[in-house]
Symmetry: C2
Subunit: 335 residues, 2 copies
């Protein structure tokens, strides 16, 4: 059993606090910077921004940027702005995702599209993204723009791949990995790489690679959670991906091991525009019995182990330890 | 009567051809560059791009960029890429606008939201915009990014102002000018300014200012057209702005000159969720009778004259002459 798989587990919330401990003060500055970046004279923009910054998540990506910037012991002040830009880009993506998916809730709060309107959410996503990049231009270093406009484009490609994954009994493991690289790993990887450029240039490549692997492990864990999670803990119904016809790794892995009747039942789900709870529960059971969840878990652990290996060149100490803990945190999430 | 108002008029299509004549060859390169920038492995992206590039408009903004770059006699090759980026940004904005407005047709072709889906149009707008900026980063000059990310943000603010203009008997002339500056003049101004940076740096400020005034005149003419146009020529119903509760300059100008009953009729339109054709025709008549259209026309002519004045420092010749013609073209548009 690999080191990652064997390690004793800390509850996820405490775990995040531990990971953030070395950068907690600067993380406060990132929050302030985010507010400063999105400020506007327009009442409607201020209203939506206030709502969005209130539904702010766990600041996982800015944490990685700040940690990466400290990997060499001398983090530069501009890491704070870069971290704020990355979190705002993430927020912009969520706003458009929710709009595209007609989602009603996000992190327990109403989404922009449900609280305001579909129009406001499309425009507000554009606003956040363009305002973040304006702040990034002011940093005055083309390298950040090169990385982050590339990622921004990759995220949209990820969204398109996501659409292609729908209804697809043909969606392959290779397609899946391309999807999660675009939609999740690209930004987490960039969070680490741009962080490295703010004081730890010598570790740019290992941190970029660590971030990419971490992001993939993150998404695989998320996709497994959709099959296994208790909806009372996550705050969203389980089987949501299946309900929306999203094909993820557990189903892909199970597909080769289905009986004729099991396969028919899975196909039934994809043929139903609005599959009911019983059908979803059935398919979850079928995927689990066929070993799909177990296979996905092993894949996630393999990638998590590679992420840990990527950290080898980083000097021992608080930062490397926090980055390692981030891997466990990602694998252990319950929501 | 000002020079702009008095000049004999050429039919708009011929007029555009004349304006584009000095840069026609390079304009072909811009089209090729646009294709190269949006190319993708993903079938769905290729499909949507092909559709969008087919509905490509009159290439007015790239024409301005190329003309501006030639204002000093030595246009740089990079003007072609910058012009392509600007037209793609414009296209991205149209895709999101159509999605937000649930529009069905654009330039006689089905919109992305109607032909594909709302999801695809939100994502595709993001794709075009981010891909265009990736190409701009590759030009390797922060100044272009400074101008164009600023404008991209301004465009979203314009969209928000547009939402604020709805249902607003309070929407003032000052609000209106702020709106058209953000949503139209900002990008046309940037087309001229970035063009100047590609070979005519000495004329940066006059060309920027010319572009801003031209953009404002452009939008005012567009808004007047909505009151006066023959729908058989424009391909869209007249009074569309009123139907959507968009308050523009003719109505704002008329508002102070309405009788009690006329005002009540206008308020009726804004109270109706879907005003019928008779009500719209009535309000168009009321606005015209109160001199609103005439006032808007005079404002447009004043600004057009200022645009012509802004060109004073540009050397006489083909380029300046084409830029001057562009003002007449904007004022004379019939669709």
């Amino acid at each position: 059993m690999s080191g990652i798989a064997a390690r004793t587990r800390t509850p996820p919330t405490d775990a995040l606090r531990d990971i953030q401990a070395p950068v907690m003060e600067r993380l406060e500055l990132v929050v302030r910077e985010m507010h400063a970046i999105v400020t506007s004279d327009l009442a409607i923009i201020e209203q939506v921004s206030a709502h969005l910054l209130q539904m702010r998540g766990k600041m996982f990506r800015p944490t990685l940027t700040l940690l990466a910037s400290a990997a060499g012991g001398t983090p530069e002040p501009r890491a704070v702005r870069v971290a704020a830009v990355i979190e705002l880009m993430h927020l912009a993506t969520l706003v458009h995702d929710d709009s595209v998916d007609h989602s009603v809730l996000r992190r327990g709060l109403p989404t922009v599209n449900s609280l305001f309107s579909h129009q406001v959410s499309v425009i507000m996503g554009d606003f956040l993204y363009t305002r973040a990049h304006t702040a990034l231009v002011d940093v005055g270093d083309l390298e950040f723009l090169r990385i982050l406009t590339g990622v921004a484009n990759e995220l949209t490609i990820g969204e398109m791949r996501q659409l292609a994954s729908l209804d697809g009994m043909e969606f392959s493991e290779e397609d899946y990995f391309a999807l999660i690289r675009s939609k999740t790993a690209s930004l987490i990887s960039a969070a680490c790489e741009t962080g490295a450029l703010c004081g730890a240039k010598g570790y740019r490549e290992p941190l970029r690679r660590y971030g990419e692997l971490l992001g993939m492990a993150f998404q695989i864990a998320d996709d497994i959670l959709d099959y296994t999670a208790d909806s009372a803990v996550t705050g969203k119904p389980s089987g949501l991906d299946l309900r929306e016809h999203k094909v993820t790794l557990p189903l892909i892995a199970a597909r080769g091991h289905l009986s004729h009747s099991e396969r028919a039942r899975v196909e039934e789900l994809f043929a139903e525009e609005q599959p009911d709870d019983a059908l979803i529960a059935d398919v979850i059971g079928i995927v689990a019995d066929a070993g799909g969840i177990e296979h996905a878990r092993r894949q996630g652990e393999r990638i998590a182990q590679e992420a840990e290996d990527a950290l080898a060149p980083i000097p021992d100490g608080k930062v490397r330890s926090a980055l390692t803990d981030a891997i466990f945190y990602v694998m252990d999430r319950r929501s």
